[in-house]
């Protein structure tokens, strides 16, 4: 897996992944842990729903005037001594980074974890120019040293256990003493290895969580301090951001700093966030480049139903509540964007023209947990159903595409998704055998080809998750083939 293009259809990749017990055990532990912590962090804020609505509206307002916002951002960054570049696609963005590195005769640079840079396959492109990009996030370093790919937006190395990391670091980090498998010892080895790089490397590349048009302020949200190191110590800094990341005013930052950490790592606030506007004389890099990346985003913007996908702030909450992700793992999605968000973002960024990516909207049980969890209220189930229709249109008229059209008609009449699920619950009677749906015609056929599906629960989703977690073996857990 690399970049956006899945190398195989989802059902095929998922079938393999669900047969790997180690992977599934790791995934279950991680998703359950974060899921429970997140509910506590969210319950602490009595006005959570209002914050979600404000977050969604704030992104929508910015997207509704996107060209104005981007021009304003460009002007503000330039006024603060930074440089702004535009890239239509991945190739242009890669080329820009390589040119900046070459202009400074750099053969090694340090990187802050950035899915956008993975999306454009930056590291491999730089390698081809003789430039080595060192990942400085601990999990990304683990992934890079093992020539692997990330499997989760937030914890990219969750599919690895401590013994594997111990063996890897003992081999790769050239430490004189033998490292134990204690996470603290392993993190310490990474700290020693990376500190030298931070203090001596001339150029860094980062992504951006948000950028403020009004002030030209770019922001990186992180936990380890490697982000602060990269955006502070080198002489030259390049940040790559998708054009949907721009906000209008400085005050717009607030709602996202409230909802992002709680949704993501279930913390009240992440340990470190850096904000900078252009260059600051005497403080931090004295040369700053901001690359604005389209790479399919304007196609998503053009689609009235799919557009809401661009609100995504990459918190990964939808991954951790997804029963399909919990079993299949990130790699099955074949793209840098896994889980429910990946299932809708990846095919759209590829403009519904990639056959393998078009199987991704089928990678869902439509249980709706992702919509409940999403801090910017992206109606992922609605987009999934809509995109299944789009994908089928690519295949020509089939029975499934006719059913799909009916579903889309219902949605366009203003049906709430919850209504659709209630209908499904009522209509599923004849398909359920011992609480499992083993074969579904039409809608869910793609998914049940490789997986049994839990019957739609008689309770609400939240209730379902609570009871499911409380009773071992309850709920969809019993549905393993």
């Amino acid at each position: 897996m690399s970049g956006l293009h899945p190398s195989r259809p989802f059902p095929e990749a998922a079938r393999e992944a669900v047969g790997n017990p180690q992977l599934r055990a790791n995934l279950r532990k991680v998703t359950n842990t974060i899921r429970e912590k997140r509910l506590r962090a969210v319950e602490e804020l009595p006005h959570w729903e209002e914050l979600r609505q404000l977050g969604a509206a704030t992104k929508d307002a910015s997207l509704a005037n996107l060209s104005d916002r981007l021009l304003e951002l460009e002007a503000s960054v330039v006024a603060r001594g930074g440089r702004v570049h535009w890239a239509r696609d991945a190739a242009e963005a890669r080329e820009l980074v390589a040119q900046i590195a070459q202009a400074h005769q750099v053969t090694e640079l340090i990187k802050v974890k950035s899915i956008t840079s993975d999306e454009i396959e930056l590291n491999a492109a730089l390698d081809a120019h003789g430039i080595h990009a060192i990942e400085t996030d601990l999990a990304e370093l683990i992934v890079q040293l093992s020539h692997d790919t990330p499997s989760h937006i937030l914890v990219p190395a969750i599919h690895r256990n401590r013994a594997e990391i111990q063996a890897l670091f003992n081999r790769e980090l050239g430490d004189p003493q033998h490292l134990s498998d204690e996470p603290a010892v392993l993190a310490g080895a990474a700290r020693r290895y990376l500190r030298q790089k931070f203090l001596t490397t001339k150029m860094a590349v980062s992504g951006a969580n948000f950028a403020v048009a009004e002030t030209g302020t770019v922001c990186v949200v992180e936990s380890e301090g490697n982000g602060r190191m990269c955006v502070t110590l080198p002489e030259v800094l390049v940040s790559i951001m998708g054009i949907e990341k721009v906000l209008q005013t400085w005050e717009d930052i607030s709602v996202f700093m409230e909802v992002l950490p709680r949704s993501s790592t279930a913390e009240r606030m992440n340990p470190y966030t850096s904000f900078w506007s252009g260059v600051t004389p005497g403080d931090g890099p004295q040369e700053f480049h901001l690359i604005l990346l389209d790479n399919g985003r304007t196609d998503v913007l053009a689609d009235e139903v799919g557009r809401q996908t661009l609100r995504c702030i990459r918190c990964s909450a939808c991954l951790n509540v997804c029963p399909v992700y919990e079993r299949a793992g990130g790699h099955a999605y074949g793209s840098v964007y896994p889980g429910p968000i990946g299932a809708i973002l990846t095919p759209q960024l590829l403009n519904m023209t990639d056959k393998n990516a078009n199987t991704l909207p089928g990678a869902s049980s439509l249980c709706g947990a992702c919509y409940d969890a999403c801090p910017v209220r992206i109606n992922i189930p609605q987009v999934l159903i809509y995109l299944r229709g789009e994908a089928n249109d690519q295949k020509g008229v089939t029975l499934e595409s006719l059913a799909m059209q009916g579903m889309r008609y219902a949605m366009s009449e203003g049906w709430r998704f919850e209504g659709a699920v209630k209908l499904a619950r009522l209509g599923q009677g004849p398909l359920v055998r011992n609480g499992q749906i083993t074969a579904l015609p039409g809608l869910l056929g793609g998914w049940t080809q490789s997986r049994d599906l839990s019957a739609f629960p008689p309770q609400s989703f939240r209730e379902w998750w609570r009871t499911r977690n409380a009773e071992p073996g309850a709920g969809s857990e019993g549905g393993q083939p």
Binding site: W86, A139, P156, G225, S277, D283, D294, A302
Partner: protein, 216 residues
């Protein structure tokens, strides 16, 4: 490749995509119920301790002793320009970042002592706008221990209050660093490890009353 051509094309695509789109109404910012000063300060203490950072609240005469305790065994201490030397205990090797210290000199330091711009109670967040008494960004990044002195009146209830408090600094082009506890990772089997790259330890000292002032 021409970035000017790319710019024009991306902007054209956006305008075509959004033809006739309406800007949505934005709902008001939801605010929590008003709290007393003491409640705000208690929340802040609770959050800082939850991050497993050190916390102490002192009256002005106790500050010097609190700094000494917070520094523990740290001897080589760096301080930003604008931090009052009066608050640094004797017997330390203090380097002021005036003129700027090199990366290597900072790497050799045990600790840094700074003030802050504002602090947020609900999230236990310390916001530096890198003004006087706070130093360049690198100062609070490289040494292993950060001792942060906060005036009680710098602590605001919520994230939005904090964002508004530093709005002028951001509009003036200043960078910000938000700190909530020490450096941490959970990347290996979700086991929390404190201290990867930033300062591994954070010690917060809250000073009551108006006595503490950063210089300038």
């Amino acid at each position: 490749m021409s970035t000017a051509e790319a710019r024009l094309e991306v902007l054209t695509r956006i305008n075509r995509a959004k033809e006739g789109a309406q800007t949505p109404e934005r709902p008001p910012y939801p605010r929590a119920a008003a709290q007393t000063r003491e409640e705000v300060l208690h929340t802040f203490q609770d959050r800082i301790e939850d991050y497993r950072a050190g916390f102490v609240r002192v009256a002005p005469p106790g500050l010097l002793e609190a700094v000494r305790t917070a520094l523990g065994g740290a001897r080589r201490v760096v301080v930003p320009g604008g931090l009052d030397a009066v608050w640094l205990p004797d017997g330390l090797d203090v380097r002021r970042d005036e003129p700027f210290l090199t990366h290597a000199e900072l790497d050799g330091a045990d600790a840094v002592v700074t003030g802050c711009a504002v602090a947020v109670a609900t999230t236990g967040t310390i916001i530096l706008d890198h003004g006087p008494g706070q130093g360049r960004r690198v100062l609070t990044l490289v040494p292993d221990l950060h001792v942060c002195i906060i005036r009680a009146d710098q602590i605001v209830p919520d994230v939005l209050d904090g964002v508004q408090a530093v709005a002028a600094a951001v509009r003036a082009g200043r960078p910000l660093t938000w700190i909530s506890g020490g450096s941490a990772t959970s990347d290996i089997e979700l086991v929390r490890v404190e201290g990867v790259h930033g300062p591994r330890r954070l010690q917060v000292i809250v000073v009551d009353g108006p006595a503490w002032r950063g210089r300038g």
